[in-house]
Structures are given as C-alpha cells and as structure tokens.
Symmetry: C2
Subunit: 883 residues, 2 copies
C-alpha cells in the first residue's frame, strides 16, 4: 500500500480528484504540478496514514519510514539540495491539509531542516546571514511550540518565546523584530534552545530527519486537538478520516531584492470583472502581506518590476482558468527571480462577483448554464437583495450589542419605542428604528414604516423576525442585553443610555447593533442576476409564489418573479386603521346580529383590498386564507388600550376587559383560531367569501382574469372543510348569480392549509373536499414537534448545539419528522384526487434545503415572502440540477 | 310483497328476529304469540310501509288496502268481534314501534273503532255505560289531537280538550275525572266533537275504517316529527327506515272488578334477586299505575285475588326467561278474568342487579360466562365503584346549579375556597368540598383531602376533572353560574349566598350541586363483581395497569386488579410539603451547583417514595416517568406567594418574580417541559434515576422483586432519548455496581412516552433506543388535533354538536386521527423491535370504546386511574368478545 505521493513541476503521483486521500492542498498541488505549473516540489503523506496513526495509538505503518526516505531522495534530486547538507541544505515546510479546508485549526512547521550546522549552509547559499538566523530562530520557535509543546498553559500566560523576544528587544531598545541584527538573532536561537532544554528537559533536535518525524507526528496529532474537533462540529464537517501532511521544499520570498510574495485572483473577486487582480510585496514572506505593516503593490506593477515573472503569472492565470473553469485564488512566491505557485483554489467572491462571473463564463462558453446556476448560491442572491453597510464605516462604528440576525439588511434611524411613535415620526419625514421588548400583531403598522426592528426577546422565528423577513425588513431579534424602559423612553445597553430619537444602526445579516448612523449601500438586482434567474426559471419545475397581503407586496412579488400569491393573510388587513374598529365591534358584539353589522362595515374594505390584489396579479392565482389568528389578538391587553377601545366603540371598559379575559387562552397556539372561528361564527367566513367573489367579479368586469383560491386554515377534520366549503359555495354561487356570471368566468378553487398533524394523517379524506393543499409548515412544525415558536428559544439553541436537531426546525424544514408528515399528506391527497394542487406557504418556502425537499416530493409550488422569491427560483433550479 | 304481519296466541307471521321490519314491539308481540303467550291478537304494518309512505309523498302501496282488510277479517275472527259492529264492536289500539325504542316520541291512538253507534255495543258487552263513554271521550280526545291536530299551538297554550274538561269539572264542582258521571262523560264527547268541528272544520269520523286509516297515517307521519328527529339525533340512532304500526285488539283492565293491569319483572331489577317482582292495580288502566293516584299492590298478592291468573303469570315468567335468557319487563292486563300480555322486553336494571343476574344466570347455566360479561356494561361497573346519594334524599334537596359531571360519585361537605383551608379543615376533622374558579397543580393537596371538588370553569378534561378522576374523587366542573368571591369567602349562585363553612353536596355523576348535606350510600365491590371481573381476566388479552403516584394509589390499584403501574408522575411527589421548598430552590438556583445541592435534598425523599411504590406493587412492573411539567408550575404566580417563597428560600421577592417571568411561556403546552428539562438540566434526570435505582436496590434487598420501567416523557426525536438513555445507563450502572448488584438483579427497562406526533412518525428510529412505548394520548390528541385541553371548551362542545367529532376527543379516543398515529407508531416500533412493550397511559386508557381500539391494534396493556381499573378489565374482555 502506497502512503506517500510525490509531486514536482511536470511530474505528479496525484491529482485534484484525490482530495479524500491527499487533502485539498495536497491534491491541488499534485494537480498543478501535473499541469506543469511551477510548484515547489514535495510529497504528501495520505489521510490514511493519519487514520492508521489514530487507530494504532500513534504508531505508523511499517513501510512508511522506507517510503519517506525514497520521497526525500526524490525531493533532493528535484531541488538539487540535500536534507541536512551543511553546504546546501534542503529546507521543507510541513503542513496539514484535510479534504475540507479548516484554516488555522491544525499545525504547521516551516524552515524544517535547519540546524546549527545547516544554518551555515543557508548563509552561504542565500548570501544573507541575518535571513538565515531569522529563519532558524523561527524554526526553533515553531518547533518548540508545535512539536515539543512549549506554549502558554492558560489564556493569561504569555508565549514563552515571545517573552524572550520581548526581553531582548527591550534590552536592545528596539521596537520591531526587523530592527534586531544578526547577533541578536543568533542570541535568540540560543535563548530559545535553552528555554526548551530548561523547561522541557529535551534538546531541540539537531538531526533533520528527527525534526521531520517530529513535525509529521505533530500535524497528525493536531487533527484531534480540541479546537479542530470543535471546528468540525460547528461547521458540520463529518465523515473525514484525517488530515494529510504535505512536506514541500521551502521557497523564500524574503531572501533579497529578487524575491517577493503575493496573492492573485484570476478575476476580480469583488466585482467579478474579467481582469487579473492581486497584490504582492517584494522581499517579504506571506505573513508580511497579512500583517499589514508594509503596503502591498497592485499586481499589474509587477509587469515592470519582473516582466518575466509577470508574463509567467498571466500564463498561469490562463492555464488555471482553462483547467478549473472557475476564478482561482493563487498564492505565489518569487525566490531569486523564480516564480513558484504555492496554492490555488476556487476564489472566494462577493455575491455580485459570483453572479457576474457565472453569467459571463456561461456566455463565453467556459461553463454551461447549469454550471453557472450552481456557481451562485441562494445566499448570494439574498445578499444582493438587501442594502448593506459600507464595510469600512461599519468597522469604525461603536458596537452596542449583538442579537440574532433575524432578517438581513442594514438599517439606520432614530430610536422609537412604539408602533404609534414610529408611524408619527415617519409621517414627519424621519427614519426610525422600532425598538421593542417583543412585537405583536398590533405593531405591524409601525414595523412597516420603520427602517428596521430591534427586539430584546424572541428568536429567529419570533413574531418580529417572521414579519420582518416577510416585509424584507432588517431585523435584529432577541438582543437580550438591551434593557428597555418604556416609561423613561430609554434603551440601556453596555453602559450606554440611548434616548428616544437617538440614532442607532442594525446589521440584520450579523445581528450587530451600533451607536449612531452608518451609511448604507443600496441593493440592486443587476442585469446579470436577471439573466441568471431567467435561466433558473428555464430549468426549475417547482413553481414559486409569494406570501403577500397587500397590492404593494403583490407588486414587489411580481417584480421578483412570483407566479402567484400562495398566501394572503386576510388578518393583516384587519389591523389597518379604520378597520380595527369594525373588527373590535364584531368581537365585542353580543350576538350574531351585532357581529353581522360590524362585518358589513368590513366587507367593502376587504373587497377593495382583494380588488387591488387581483389587479396586481393580473390573472395569476391568488390564494386567500380566511381569518386565522385568535380574536384576542385584535384587542388591546393593557388597561389604557382597553379604555380607549371602550370609548371608541361605546361600551364600558369593563366589557372590553371581560371580553379579553373570556378570550384568554392558556395555549393560544392550540386554541380558538383558524377555521374554528369560521365554524363558530360562520358569518365571518361568509363576509370574506363575499368580499373575495365580489372583488373577483369587479376585476373580471375590467377585463382582467382572476383566479382566486379560497383557503380554509387549521383544518384538522374533513368535516370542518365540508361545513366551510358548503358555506363558500353557497355564497359564491349567490354572488355570481347576482352578477349574471358563473364559475366559468371566475374559476375559483376551494382548498385548505395542511398545518395540523391530524390533517396530514387524514389527507385522503380531506382531499375529497379540497382542490388544493397548502402546507403550513410553521404550524405543522409547532404541532408535529411540540414546540411553540414563541417559546422554543429557551431550549432549541441547546438542542441544535447537542445535535438533536441539525438546524432550527423553524428555519430549515425537519425533513425526517415534519417532512414525513408533508410527504404522507401528498401521497394520501393524490390517492384521492390525482390532480390536487400542492403547495407550501410556511417560512420554509424560501429556504433552499427545504425547497430541495419540496421539489423532491413533487409539490407544485413553494410560496415565500416576496424578497425571497428570487432565492426560491434559484434554489428550485438547484434542486433540479442536484437530482 | 307482504306489508302486514298477523299475530295471535299460538299463531304468528313474525318473530323477534324481524325487528328491522316489524319494529321492536311488533317483533316481540309476534314472538310471544308464537310462544303461545296470550297476547291480544293484532297485526303489524311493516317499517317498509313507512319508508314507502315517506318516499311517495304520503301515499301507500296499492295492495295495502286489500291486505289491511284481510288482516282485519282475521282479527275479527280471532276476537269474535267485528269492527264497527254496533252490538259487539272490535276496538283496537294503533301504536308506533321502531326497531330501536323511542319511548314517547311517536303517536298512539287507543279505543279506535268507537263511534256514536258502536259505543252502544260497548255498553252492552261491557255492561258499564260509564266505562264506555269514558273510553269514547278518550278516543275523541286522542284522535282529535294525534290525527286531526287539535292541540296547543305554543308552550303556553292549554290543551283544548283539557280546557273543556276543566270547565266541566268546575261547573260540576268536582276535582277528579273519576268523579264525573255517565252524563258528564256523554256531554264531554259532544263538547269534544263540537270543538273539533268548530276549530278544525272537520267532523270526528263515525266510520271505523276511516278512523283506522287516519290513525295509521298519523303514526307513520310521527316518525318524522321534530321531536322524534331530535331524539334520534341525540341518541345517535341511525340507519332506520321508519316505524312499524301495530294494530291490536284492545283489552281493558278498567272494565270492572274482574279486570286489572300491572307490570312485572321476572327478577328483581333493583337487586337482581331471582324472585318474581312487580305490582298491579285492579280495575285500572296502565296510565293509572303511572299516575300514582292509587297505590298498586305487590304482585304476590295476586295469588290470592286471582289464583288462576297468578299461576298463568308465573308460568309465563318461566317461559319468557327460558326463551329470552334474560330478565324480562312484562306489561299485562286482566280483562274479565283473562290474562293478556301486552309487552315484554329485557328489563332495565341497576348496576348491582345487572352483575348479580349475569353471575347467577351463568352459574345456573342459563347463559355462558361470555354472555354474562356482555350483560354488564362498563358503566355498570363505574356506578358500583362510587358512593351515591340516597335517591329519595337527593330528590328532596335544594338544587343550586348544574355543572359538568366531571368525576362520578357523591360528596357532601363544608365549602372551602383554597387548598390550604381544605387541608387545615380536614386536619381538624371536618369534611370539605373544595370550591375554586379552576384548580392548578398547587391545589392537589387540597383536592386530595376534600370530599369533592367544584369548579366554575373548565371542562370534562380540565385540570380539576382529570386529577379528580385520577383520584376517584367526586367532581363537578365548569359550573358557570356560580360566582366565587375569594375575598369575601362566599359563593353566589341563583340567589343563594353560601359562606365558607356552609354545607353543599355534589353529584359527580350528574353534575348537580345541592344546598346542604345529603346522606350517601357507600360503594362496595360485592362478591359477584369480583367473580365477574375474574371471568373478564380469563378472557381479556390486554393487560391493565394503573396510573398511580403514591403507595396509597398503588395499593388501591392492586386491590382493583391492576397488574402494574403504567404511569407514576414523579412531579406529584414534588408538590408535597417539605419537598416543594427544595424544588423551588432548584428552580431558583443560579447554576448547576446550586441545582445539584437542591436535588440532593430531594433524592432521599424520592427514593423513599419509590421504595413505597415498589413494595406496594410486589414485583409488578412500575413505570416511572421523569419530571414532566414546565418548571413555572412549581412557583407561585401571585405576589404574595412569591414573597413567601422568597422568604423561605432566602432570596429577594424580585428574584422570584424575575424567575417566574423568565419561565413564562406563551404556549406552555408546547414549551420547556418533558425530557427537554432533562436535556437542559441533566442533573434532574440523574437525581431521578439515582432515586429509582437506589430504591429498587433497597427493596430488592428486602427480598421483594422490583421491575422499574424508566420512562422519558415528550420525546420527539430519537436523539433526545439517546442522550437520556446514556445518562440513565451510566447512573444505573454506577448505583448497581456500588451495591454489588447487576441488571440481572434489577432488570430495569428504559422507554419513552409517545405523545408528540413526531415521535409517532419516527417511532421506528425511537424504538432503536426504547424497550417500551407508552402512548400519552392526552398530549397526542392535543398536538395531533391542535387542541389545547385547557382551552378547547370554547369550541369543542360546538364541534361535537356539529358532528365534526363524534365525541370529545379527550374523553373518547379520536380513532380516525390520533388513533392512526398510535397505530402507525406501533407498526413502526415493532418493525425495529418486534418485542417492544406497548402500552397507553393517557385518559383514554380507562374509556371502553378506546380500550376496544387499543385491543384491536394489539397493545400490551392500558393504564388508567386505579378507580377505572375494574372498568378497563371488563372493557378489555368485551373487546375480545366483540371481535
């Protein structure tokens, strides 16, 4: 069995398909070497050696020693140097490299092969004594730390080597390492070696082979160090057998003026423009570029400094893009005028760049459209849809606290502490951030006009978060550190007291909250995104609708490519001013007559809303859900509010309070809501059907096609649907007949939400009465898993950390549980009614992995908030491409 | 096609198997006639005639007239009289009779065939003019009402005939009908006929054939009168095609001193004793027995009065029991010394009688054991298990209001308004009724000591109702009319104000609430019940366990035949004095260390509880559930209580309030409870396992076998169970090792509740970790149907009325929905682990129709409250017998 794979320019035992075995870095080095790209020669000990090491208590396969010797020989031949040669020593780096990149998590040793003896050879060949001793002291320091374990024992300890370095610099009266001279560095080597001897009772090895074995073992060991394990846990990296170890000849960019180092991207990673992009530093090491002490030069200036190297580099750029068909991020070093490529990988890119490159590469035939679609992630599209802070300004801002990134985007404005204040301030031309302990349906008006919403309580799926995402509004939720004093109109956090009217800024993509204003960069759907999404539309089979409650939302949805409205929540209309009074009159009425009177006032308003929706959707289907929330949500819960309502409606405050008490429920989630309202008070459903069908008739008369889908919520038993269906058909037939129209003119459909587990289980029965199902996966998750969305914050985070659920099931569909209910309901529904229309309108309708699942079980469409429609379009195409 | 079936002693065209066609009454008359029992001859128009009549707008089959004539001829022959014969007229009764008895719902006409002419014949043959005119005026009155429709038009109207009768009596200065003489009665006939003529503009028909057709049609019509329809709805009588009509020769018990009428039971229907039982009146009609004006004589005195008739009657008694193999309820009339049997049917009986007769008949070989078991209903057993009020005393008591019959039994005691008062009063030797707006877990101590519980709010499955049934304690819940003023310590209802300390009485079987004390009759499980239940045990395959939290409950359970404990709710132990302090310390602790300290105080208490349980159960399995309710249930929610707790524990009241606020949940049902507590605070589960296993070791050492089944509640994902199982095994192994024992000594099992829909759906995965499933059908109903048990009262009644659910799904398992989840989980669980133990411990475990379902899907056992164990044993046997 082969354990070590050699690579050198034009000669390679591995390639990029061998990532499992050679790790990402090793496989790519082998691939580049195979392509004739000048990588420093070296070899890779495979991940299987790591596994062997782990499974055999730290011992190695018998043949490994022999193989290592052979490969060292080859390496000596390729470099013309010899390991341990006092005159022309071969120096190597020893680096980790797993199949999945885990930057900074495992160990590395550089300059390996230097000893008291070989240091002299390095002085001779490099012609630079200071460089040689600087390299040597770095090796001793790194080796002492990584291999021998001389390192801080607690977080408050100072690194023992840095301490010695600091003492020396203080003694010498210098500030920078670079100010130390040869003799200082030589002294430092001696001090470092002495520290190792005294503190560890071992000698720094003067045998290069012993150094090499030590470093290799240290890297393999680091695979299972606690931070690497933690990293894999957090990043959900599973199924890897270990890390590979790359032993590679050292090349130095800091050996003199004919040396340098740099990073290049084959295209601009910020914009995607097809121009060579990068920067470099002469006489420097890679870490100098990162440290930021010296300012790197733009890559194009290299053309004048090192014309040959520049030309070689642009050739390599072309070769790499030709080979990988993707933008590459390349690290290079120039040693004594020779170019070496240390690493290439697909370059990280901004969302805008990802889209532009994908579209341009597809246009010029580098990749096909399908590949182009796969190059862009749903997250990229999401980024493009929200305004963002100017990153430099954000870095400078004073951070107040961090909450949950509940709804992405960036927002800046004056603090207001109630929805009314928000509406008033915005009318006066101010931009505001609504800050609440938590929001409730009564706050929707204020949320709508605010730039962003900040709450002290609630999770990613709290009311604030869900509504804000629905509106495409920036929201930071559950910022537990803030203390809101509504009476004093102040917000306190981390020693700051913010008064009403003071400016704050929210980053809804990270959860950061800042003091003061931060300038934002506006979002735009550029032409390339449009092109890409059109390609997505060609490929996807899943329809994409939007959840939209108003004509404005509907218009946004259409702009973003929605093919219909999958959910219009009629109750959102009930909160608008002028309506809420009638709604409250209805609730407070003593009898059906009183309720009908109040409903008669609502009818023309609802009708006009629906007309607006139908017009905006121009013949696309519009799914309208009957009133869903429990009635107490429409009444104020504080005394003052109740007094006001009493006054407006003309009843006693006592009556209002009694009604609120009577409507109180221990578990409102499982209470008197959904179709249960329409069953208890059929007159509410009657009014809503009448409004829908009358609106449909009116818009039909204008020559616009109308496709209403009337949706009954929270059905648990087919008998509920039978009762509501009879009522709908009765009223609809009545209204149509009054206009001289028939169902042919207004081909309305009647269907139901599937959001109660019992409905999913008895979907075969329910399908007898339902022309469509729309899965309400939010409630189905709540009832299926037994989690209240409002309360689960207390334990759900912990559940995700403990791996009980891989993700928050309110964000990512719990396919194994709730998904099974959805799948079961689809099968049962189709058994009864093969042409039943199946959609989903829960939060998961805009979440890519959930969309893939919905595609897989054959739903007809997903419906999500208008701002997620483009994301869903791409995710639906991905679902096809990943089949 | 034959429409009419003739019967006469010894000659019969029908029999008792033809109930569908002839109705219950007709089939039984035919059967008796066939047996040679002297029934008055007659014939039955079949239910198919009724259907024809309904489906053909009130017309009859063509051949019916001819058939009717033929049968009239036969009847004339059998009686030796002729219909319409002025000298010896045949008189008949016309009665309804459907396949299922609907007493009083449909119409009857008696004495039909009397006219001005035939009345004279009746005078001649009966030799009693007064009797003849009394009979005639009754016919005119009944016919006028039933056939012609002269009746009160509203509830406040007086019956027109009664009005005339009243006027006449007033004029005559008499009080009783019997005081009217011949001429009065003759005048009355004239007055009645005139009233019909004047008010309806028709004549009372003087043609007997016309009378007959009119009466037959009136009876058929009455099948669909509103009260009959309502009756069938309420009593869930479905699938009948109509009523039959029985035309039968009249016999009179009121024609003179050689006449009489009576009712007899072949055994004593109150006690079940095998003695002829009944009463009779000489010279009387059936209605005179009911009216209670004259006191009937015991049946045995008939032996002296009419030896021949008595001997005939005892022969018939024997013949009927021989034939029907059941106690019969017989109506008889003696006309001129001749005995006629008018009706026989299985007699209604008390619970005690049902059991005694079933056992005695099985013992003497009349029926087999299986039939004996089927003769006793679960409701009979239930009646036998609760004390009841002395019925006569109850009738005299002043009723205050009526609530829901939440937990059966009878209770009398002094009103107390809090659990503390209850406990204090009982310590002082008082008997109390706990009256609360609603109860909460904090009230359990008070409920335990009270005689009964009365609440103003909450339904059949409210906290009060469920806990009371669990305790076998009388409870009336949701008595909405009572107003409780905790401050004034008064209860107001219907004008009465009851002070703390005043006595009231509750009938938990009817929901009636009375003022003052009513003496009760104690319940007892007599020898016959024991015998019967032993027979049930021989037959049933379903195991029966009890839900029991204390050694006392466990002892009761064993006494009632429980084969194990299916559910021990450990939290009930937490509420006891001395413990609640430690529980609260744990909740209020800032960190794990603080929680562990508090838990260490609880450990010895829990251990001792479990020791008590294990001893009481003597080797039977004991299923112990980990702490289940949300923690806020252990903290007081009012300011005063919080202050007290703060003082006891030594923290600030503010801290207690903050904790209560922090633990507040919008939907506690779906919140941080069940195994979620054990996942977040593993130290709680650890303490509980330690207590269980240490107790098991201690009791094992005493030489008593112990079978603990450790149950993890509210599992939704197998990963929760994995975590808890690891913890359990770790602690258990540790404790056992410390005692030098192994799992062979204490063969504990680890399993889970299946009460979250997701658990049912993923039961195959969960069964990998669970040795048993126990279905928590209460929560499974809540989550599966999306009903909160505490709130559903608002709409669930309406749902049952509208037929959306046939029954309250918290009382009777929703087999079609929740039942499917249970069935699915059983199949999935057995697929993974064929020998998995399957039980159910929800409320439905004691409900007969649900037990039948659980038997059908092959559960191993049901578990219910100790007081329902006998019911479950019988129901489980019935499930086998009805397979």
């Amino acid at each position: 069995m082969k354990h070590i794979y050699f690579f050198s320019k034009g000669e390679s035992e591995g390639n990029s398909s061998m990532k499992e075995l050679l790790g990402g870095k090793g496989a790519n080095l082998a691939e580049m070497a195979g392509l004739g790209i000048p990588v420093p020669p070296g070899f890779t000990l495979s991940t299987e050696v790591c596994r062997y090491y782990d499974e055999h208590d730290g011992s190695y396969p018998d043949s490994l020693g022999e193989e290592l010797k052979e490969n060292l020989c080859k390496l000596e031949k390729a470099t013309g140097k010899r390991f341990g040669d006092p005159s022309n020593p071969l120096l190597v780096s020893v680096r980790s490299g797993a199949a999945v990149s885990m930057p900074g998590m495992m160990d590395t040793v550089l300059n390996l092969g230097l000893t008291d003896e070989t240091a002299k050879g390095l002085i001779a060949t490099a012609g630079n004594e200071r460089f040689a001793y600087d390299s040597y002291r770095r090796l001793v320091q790194m080796y002492g730390d990584v291999v021998l374990g001389l390192r801080p024992q607690s977080e408050t300890d100072i690194d023992p080597f840095e301490k010695l370095l600091g003492t020396l610099k203080a003694r010498k009266g210098v500030k920078l390492d670079t100010e130390l001279d040869v003799s200082d560095l030589r002294e430092l080597v001696a001090l470092f070696k002495a520290a190792i001897r005294e503190q560890l009772r071992v000698e720094f090895p003067q045998d290069p082979a012993k150094q090499l074995w030590g470093a290799i073992t240290a890297v393999f060991k680091s695979w299972n160090n606690p931070r690497a394990i933690k990293y894999r846990e957090i990043n959900e990296i599973h199924g890897l057998i270990g890390t590979a170890v790359n032993v590679q000849a050292m090349v130095f960019g800091n050996m003199g003026e004919r040396c340098g180092t740099g990073v290049a991207f084959t295209r601009n990673p910020a914009t995607g423009e097809n121009l060579f992009y990068g920067e470099y530093l002469m006489n420097a090491q890679g870490e100098d570029v990162v440290a930021g002490i010296r300012t790197p030069q733009p890559i194009e200036t290299l053309r004048n400094v090192f014309p040959k190297v520049y030309s070689e580099l642009t050739d390599i750029r072309e070769k790499l893009e030709d080979h990988y068909h993707d933008m590459q991020d390349v690290e290079f070093t120039i040693e004594d005028g020779n170019l070496y490529i240390l690493q290439t990988r697909a370059g990280k890119r901004t969302a805008a760049a990802a889209v532009r490159m994908a579209v341009e590469m597809a246009r010029d035939g580098t990749i096909d459209k399908q590949e182009a679609l796969l190059r862009v992630t749903p997250e990229h599209i999401e980024q493009l849809l929200h305004p963002t802070f100017d990153p430099q300004e954000e870095q400078k801002a004073i951070q107040l606290t961090k909450g949950l990134p509940a709804s992405p985007g960036a927002a800046t404005g004056a603090v207001v502490l109630s929805a009314e204040e928000a509406e008033k301030a915005v009318q006066e031309g101010e931009k505001v951030i609504l800050v609440r302990v938590e929001t409730s349906p009564e706050d929707i008006g204020g949320m709508h006009v605010a730039e962003g919403v900040l709450t002290a309580r609630g999770g990613m799926t709290s009311h604030a978060a869900v509504v804000a995402r629905g509106m495409g509004k920036c929201c930071v939720a559950g910022a537990g550190e803030i203390a809101i004093d509504y009476n004093a109109a102040t917000v306190s956090v981390g020693g700051h007291t913010i008064n009403r009217g003071d400016s704050i800024s929210l980053n809804g993509s990270t959860g950061d909250v800042y003091l003061g204003e931060i300038p934002t960069i506006a979002a735009e759907l550029s032409g390339n995104v449009g092109t890409l999404l059109a390609w997505a539309d060609e490929i996807r089979r899943l329809g994409v609708r939007a959840n939209a409650d108003t004509p404005q939302d509907a218009a946004t949805a259409v702009k973003f490519g929605a093919e219909g409205i999958g959910l219009c929540r009629t109750e959102h209309m009930f909160f608008e001013e002028g309506r809420i009074v009638a709604v409250r009159e209805m609730i407070l009425a003593d009898d059906e007559t009183g309720r009908r009177e109040a409903l008669n006032k609502l009818l023309p308003m609802q009708r006009s809303d629906f007309e607006g929706l139908f017009r905006a959707m121009e013949g696309r289907p519009v799914t309208i859900r009957f009133l869903d929330p429990p009635l107490h949500e429409f009444l104020p819960h504080n005394e003052e509010g109740q007094r006001e309502v009493a006054q407006v409606i003309g009843v006693s405050a006592e009556q209002v309070r009694e009604k609120v008490d009577a409507l109180h429920e221990f578990n409102p989630m499982l209470g008197h809501r959904g179709c249960r309202l329409g069953i208890t008070y059929p007159e509410i459903s009657e009014m809503q059907v009448r409004a829908i069908i009358e609106a449909a008739c009116n818009v039909h008369t204008e020559g616009i096609a109308v496709l209403p889908e009337i949706m009954v919520p929270l059905v648990g038993s087919v008998k509920e649907l039978i009762l509501q269906r009879e009522l709908i058909e009765h009223i609809a037939t009545d209204v149509l007949a009054g206009r001289g129209l028939t169902k042919k003119d207004i081909p309305y459909m009647i269907g139901t939400m599937i959001e109660v587990p019992r409905a999913a289980i008895t979907a075969d029965e329910i399908a007898q009465e339902a022309e469509f199902f729309s899965f309400g996966t939010n409630d189905l998750t709540q009832m299926g898993c037994g989690f209240s969305r409002d309360d689960a914050g207390n334990f759900l985070k912990d559940y995700v950390v403990k791996g009980i659920y891989a993700h928050d099931p309110f964000q990512v569909l719990d396919q194994n549980g709730v998904g099974k209910l959805v799948e079961m309901a689809c099968k049962l529904g189709r058994k009864t009614r093969p042409d039943i229309e199946l959609g989903i309108c829960g939060e998961h309708g805009g979440e890519p992995s959930s969309i893939k699942f919905f595609h897989g079980i054959g739903l007809d469409y997903v419906s999500c908030s208008p701002y997620r429609v483009p994301i869903a379009r791409l995710a639906a195409a991905h679902a096809v491409l990943k089949e």
